[in-house]
């Protein structure tokens, strides 16, 4: 039998099928009712996603022109970038604040200034610090979804047991160190309790310098990891491992359960205080509702009272990727999301505070976090700390993380470790600036404090 015709038919069918299905994938989705479909990829799953889904549903029901289709997508940053380079990005992507500079630098997201001007939205609608996270090189690239500020969480019972007034948690770094000494307990070679441990949860290794008033860079073109205040911050961070033995401390830490579990060291009464975000109350409620806890601003160095009320800021953002099929419609939804009603619904659902300048009393009263007012105030403090706005931050942050490991292991002094970060990162920053200058973009200060 001559198989050639069969093969031809099979081949043509296969190619046709491939073309047909790829068309299905790439073609923007349409609906029979004529509404424009805005595709939206969100990083969250679980209750945070559910909160966003409800807001989307409310928006979809509120009008009949646009239909937002929200999808929970893991590894959102990488996938958005690849989809954008492939020419089939979603219309909206829910990224993280520190992504802004990198995505703007790579032309991966659209500037939103025109849309925002037209809609009459500006910086004053927001807590300025959060709005600033969304800008890079003077342009607006993203809009906030839920923010988070951080504070010292403390276990009242553990403070009391150590003879510390539970209504008067440590105000200065020195007091925090003192509290740790009082609570620290060992059983043989094993640590059983500590007052504070800088590497738990270890999510912000970059923060120890800035908490001491140091600056990671001049905001324009010079990385300043050798700032004496930064060295001071990391010396303090490393003092715990140095004093108790780095092996002993890391064994203690290895015994901790995962963050969202009853074995979380703070919920398990192993650690009396911890630096955590506004979300923590919700997890305490889930994992150990009996925990008798409070929250206050993270301590400052006693000789630098001007650093009081410092707080690290995290922000989830929404961007419109370059090449999105429906940018206008996507912004319509963004605009809705930025209304006080929608935003408070979202932030309440995700158990965070609001990024908006105006907050309703009802929001604060209904919020499940008993300390919500503290977090709202800390977000507006003059000592808020956020990551540097530069496309090289991901790498820079990893270098700092490795440096903290070297300091804690005692294999490098803080000066050496920070100097290594400095020598490694400065040439990369120079490269970014050269690239931008070649495009006619002059470096300007991206310092958050301005």
């Amino acid at each position: 039998m001559n198989w050639a015709p069969v093969a031809w038919v099979a081949g043509v069918a296969a190619v046709g099928w491939a073309l047909f299905t790829s068309e299905q994938i790439i073609k923007p989705e349409t609906r029979t009712d004529g509404r424009v479909v805005v595709t939206y990829w969100e990083k969250w799953s679980d209750f945070e996603f559910e909160a966003m889904r409800k807001v989307v549903e409310k928006y979809n029901n509120s009008q009949d022109k646009i239909f937002v289709k929200v999808l929970s997508v893991p590894n959102i940053a990488g996938k958005t970038l690849l989809a954008t380079s492939g020419g089939i990005p979603p219309d909206l992507a829910g990224l993280y604040g520190p992504n802004v500079a990198q995505y703007a630098f790579n032309n991966a997201v659209m500037p939103l200034d025109e849309f925002a001007n037209e809609a009459g939205m500006d910086r004053d609608d927001y807590i300025h610090q959060y709005y600033d996270i969304c800008t890079y090189r003077g342009k607006l690239w993203a809009l906030p979804t839920t923010p988070a500020s951080t504070a010292l969480h403390y276990n009242r019972d553990m403070l009391q047991a150590a003879g510390w007034d539970p209504n008067n948690p440590p105000k200065t770094i020195e007091e925090l160190t003192e509290l740790d000494k009082r609570i620290f307990k060992k059983d043989g070679s094993r640590i059983t309790k500590m007052g504070f441990l800088p590497t738990e949860p270890g999510w912000w290794p970059w923060a120890w310098g800035p908490i001491f008033g140091g600056k990671l860079w001049n905001g324009v073109d010079k990385i300043t990891m050798d700032d004496p205040k930064i060295v001071e911050g990391y010396t303090w961070m490393g003092s715990f491992a140095k004093q108790y033995g780095s092996g002993t401390v890391s064994s203690f830490q290895e015994g901790f359960g995962s963050f969202n579990s009853p074995q979380n060291p703070f919920m398990d009464n192993k650690l009396a205080t911890v630096l955590q975000g506004v979300w923590m109350a919700n997890f305490i409620e889930k994992q150990n509702p009996k925990l008798n806890w409070g929250a206050s601003a993270f301590p400052y160095p006693a000789n630098r009272p001007e650093m009081a009320n410092s707080s690290l800021l995290d922000l989830d953002i929404l961007v419109i990727p370059t090449g999105a099929k429906h940018p206008k419609e996507a912004f319509e939804f963004l605009k809705y999301l930025q209304t006080q009603e929608a935003m408070e619904m979202l932030c309440l659902g995700q158990k965070k505070h609001s990024p908006l300048a105006n907050v309703s009393e009802g929001f604060l009263q209904n919020h499940p976090n008993p300390n919500i007012r503290l977090f709202q105030e800390l977000a507006e403090s003059k000592n808020t700390l956020a990551t540097p706005k530069t496309p090289i931050w991901a790498q820079w942050g990893d270098e700092i993380r490795t440096a903290t490991q070297s300091i804690n292991n005692g294999s490098k002094t803080p000066e050496q470790a920070l100097n290594d970060v400095q020598t490694k990162m400065q040439p990369l920053l120079d490269k970014v600036l050269r690239h931008e200058r070649a495009l006619g973009i002059e470096p300007r200060s991206e310092d958050m404090a301005e």
Partner: protein
């Protein structure tokens, strides 16, 4: 007539091979050539690649992390391959003995290599946990030490080597198959000459197994220099202090965290060259020592 028939046969043949040919060209050949081109460019995915000549390659040699991660990968390969080879051959020899429950033991030792890599990584994280891991629960009462396996700069890499040795099942099965090929007459002749079991292993089994050993060693060189998933899952960022930061993880970070596709491509090609040279050397060296039965 005959040429046209040949042509039509060739056409049909090509057509049948077309799915593979197209797949190979689109998913392997093109990306391969493109990455070679990209390795001479600065390429951040969304802007077109800019030709920068050899800059990526010269930068690489000045890059401290390049050497460190390459060193880590070599350390891993240098220990994991010999240890894995010895263990796999040893197991194969033992499992080749005619004992009761042979099939059970063979399955038992092969099973670990079937466990998918993510649960495997998490399982070993529990086992090696310095505070509550089962390994320290055994070690501590006997030796009165509690090694911090995952956090100690001297130990962390070796955890990965232990893991890889635990998963030698695949190689073991190949050795076991190789052992079946050894002609029984040789052993019978050796028995008549009164050779000891050790001598038989050394003079008959291993030489006749040598082609299989060569195959496994070459595959291990390729595999261990590319090891990625285990360190990536178990030691984020190469903690502690990048002692578990392997070369392939560095390539991944450069490409997908920093979006430096050009630099990452250059790294990929350097790794390819290294593996190529090592494989060539290994084959050249071992070829002299390998006994093929047909000779």
């Amino acid at each position: 007539m005959s040429t046209s028939k040949l042509n039509s046969q060739t056409r049909a043949g090509l057509l049948f091979a077309a799915p593979w040919l197209i797949g190979f060209s689109v998913f392997l050949l093109f990306p391969l050539l493109k990455s070679f081109y990209n390795s001479f460019t600065e390429y951040t995915i969304l802007t077109p690649p800019v030709w920068i000549g050899l800059e990526n390659y010269t930068d690489l040699f000045k890059d401290e992390l390049f050497w460190q991660s390459l060193g880590n990968s070599f350390y891993y390969a240098l220990i994991a391959i010999p240890v894995g080879t010895v263990v796999a051959i040893g197991l194969a020899l033992l499992l080749n003995q005619k004992v009761k429950g042979q099939a059970f033991y063979r399955t038992f030792f092969f099973l670990p290599s079937l466990v998918p890599v993510v649960p495997l990584a998490i399982l070993w994280l529990w086992l090696f946990n310095g505070e509550s891991g089962i390994i320290n629960a055994v070690i501590e009462p006997i030796f009165h030490v509690k090694p911090n396996w995952l956090g100690d700069v001297k130990l962390a890499k070796n955890v990965l080597i232990v893991m890889s040795t635990w998963g030698v099942g695949n190689a073991m099965v190949i050795y076991l198959a190789g052992l079946q090929q050894v002609p029984q007459e040789l052993y019978e002749a050796a028995n008549l000459d009164g050779a000891s079991p050790l001598r038989k292993t050394w003079k008959i089994t291993l030489p006749l197994l040598s082609p299989v050993i060569m195959f496994n060693v070459v595959m291990s060189i390729i595999g261990s220099l590319q090891v990625f998933a285990q360190p990536f899952i178990m030691f984020p960022g190469g903690a502690p202090e990048r002692t578990t930061y392997f070369f392939s993880v560095y390539i991944y970070d450069t490409a997908f965290r920093d979006n430096r596709m050009g630099y990452a491509s250059a790294m990929g090609w350097v790794l390819f060259l290294i593996i190529l040279v090592l494989t060539y050397v290994a084959i050249k060296y071992m070829d002299k020592k390998v006994h093929y039965e047909t000779n």
